[in-house]
């Protein structure tokens, strides 16, 4: 019971940071999503010591473990977009394959070379 209450309190902290960041993104008109600002804000607060890991990790770990749950209901929206795949299947496939393979190899090579130079 106390664990549940603690997790809910931590959820309130995450929620407040998310709301604050979303508001900031809107208020400043920055073309950056509020959730990206929220990650940076929480990371900053943890680094500065304003928040400790123990203040948020119970709720954060639980939510991250089930993050995929939230994605499912977004993907259901595909119901309305089947024709896009029917009409543009080949171009979409080419775009997805090339844009996965090229950066994969590039990141691997660059990181390996930089690591060796440093070592």
């Amino acid at each position: 019971m106390t664990q549940t209450l603690k997790a809910l309190g931590q959820l309130a902290i995450l929620w407040a940071i998310y709301q604050g960041s979303t508001w900031l993104a809107k208020a400043t008109g920055l073309p950056i999503p509020g959730n990206v600002l929220g990650v940076l804000a929480l990371f900053g607060l943890l680094c500065l010591g304003v928040l400790k890991l123990s203040h948020v990790e119970l709720a954060a770990d639980f939510l991250l473990k089930h993050l995929v749950f939230f994605f499912m209901s977004i993907a259901v929206g595909l119901m309305e977009w089947g024709s896009v795949f029917y009409n543009y299947g080949a171009v979409l496939l080419a775009a997805i394959v090339v844009s996965a393979v090229v950066p994969l190899l590039l990141v691997g090579c660059v990181a390996q070379v930089m690591y060796r130079r440093r070592a």
Binding site: L14, I17, V39, L67, F70, A75, A95, L104, V110, A111
Partner: protein
């Protein structure tokens, strides 16, 4: 069914699909057993069979995704836990992830644009290398369609986790750190799951790369969108 009953049914259906598919994945751990793709496919099938339109599912979706924002902010927790790696390998990590994120957006966007896809589809595919909550918001800002973006994200993640490890081995990239960074940058959470199966070091790097790629992609998106606009 009345509106509330449909919403309750949709939430129950989504929870059941999630629990079932998650169990299936945890049992076999095969990249093709993707929880998002199979779960959404199952839900869509049930809705179509029962003649429930997507618009009737939307209230349930809105309720269920209300915690997605706070959950995404929670990604700062693993980032902070691995800050030691960031301090030690800062330039290698930030440099390679930034380059990879930029190249992924440019290649995906340029091929889609040259292939004659409508602008909203191009903007939906551009950020597909990063985890869904970031990708969806980036697409929304640039004029894309969230559901399409989610599908492209899952397709990319599945591809990366199916052949990513094999391709890296083929290209003689053996360094665990480099492998983790490549998998996390290109195929987000699904690549991170694959990297974790290779080892803890690969997994930690992939987790970092996934979050950083999301941040870089958000930063680059307006520029890449502008560039693609000039092309078309």
């Amino acid at each position: 069914m009345s509106g509330h009953a449909t919403t309750l049914f949709a939430i129950g259906l989504t929870l059941a699909a999630y629990v079932g598919m998650r169990r299936l994945y945890l049992r076999y751990k095969h990249p093709l057993l993707n929880v998002v793709a199979l779960g959404a496919g199952l839900i869509i099938t049930v809705l179509v069979v029962l003649g429930i339109p997507y618009s009737a599912y939307v209230p349930a979706k809105d309720i269920m995704t209300s915690l997605l924002g706070p959950a995404t902010v929670g990604l700062a927790v693993p980032l902070y836990r691995h800050r030691g790696l960031l301090v030690r390998f800062g330039p290698a990590i930030l440099g390679s992830v930034a380059l990879g994120a930029l190249l992924a957006m440019l290649t995906a966007g340029a091929i889609a644009q040259l292939g004659g896809l409508p602008k909203d589809v191009v903007m939906s595919i551009m950020p597909k290398g990063v985890t869904i909550p970031f990708a969806v918001e980036i697409a929304r800002i640039c004029g894309g369609i969230p559901a399409l973006t989610a599908a492209f994200v899952v397709a990319t993640g599945t591809l990366g986790s199916l052949i990513g490890g094999w391709l890296l081995t083929l290209a003689r990239i053996q360094n665990p750190m480099a492998r983790g960074l490549a998998l996390g940058t290109v195929s987000h959470g699904q690549g991170t799951a694959t990297a974790l199966m290779e080892g803890e070091q690969q997994g930690a790097m992939a987790g970092l790369a996934m979050i950083l790629a999301g941040i870089f992609t958000a930063g680059f998106a307006p520029l890449v969108a502008w560039f693609l606009g000039m092309m078309g």
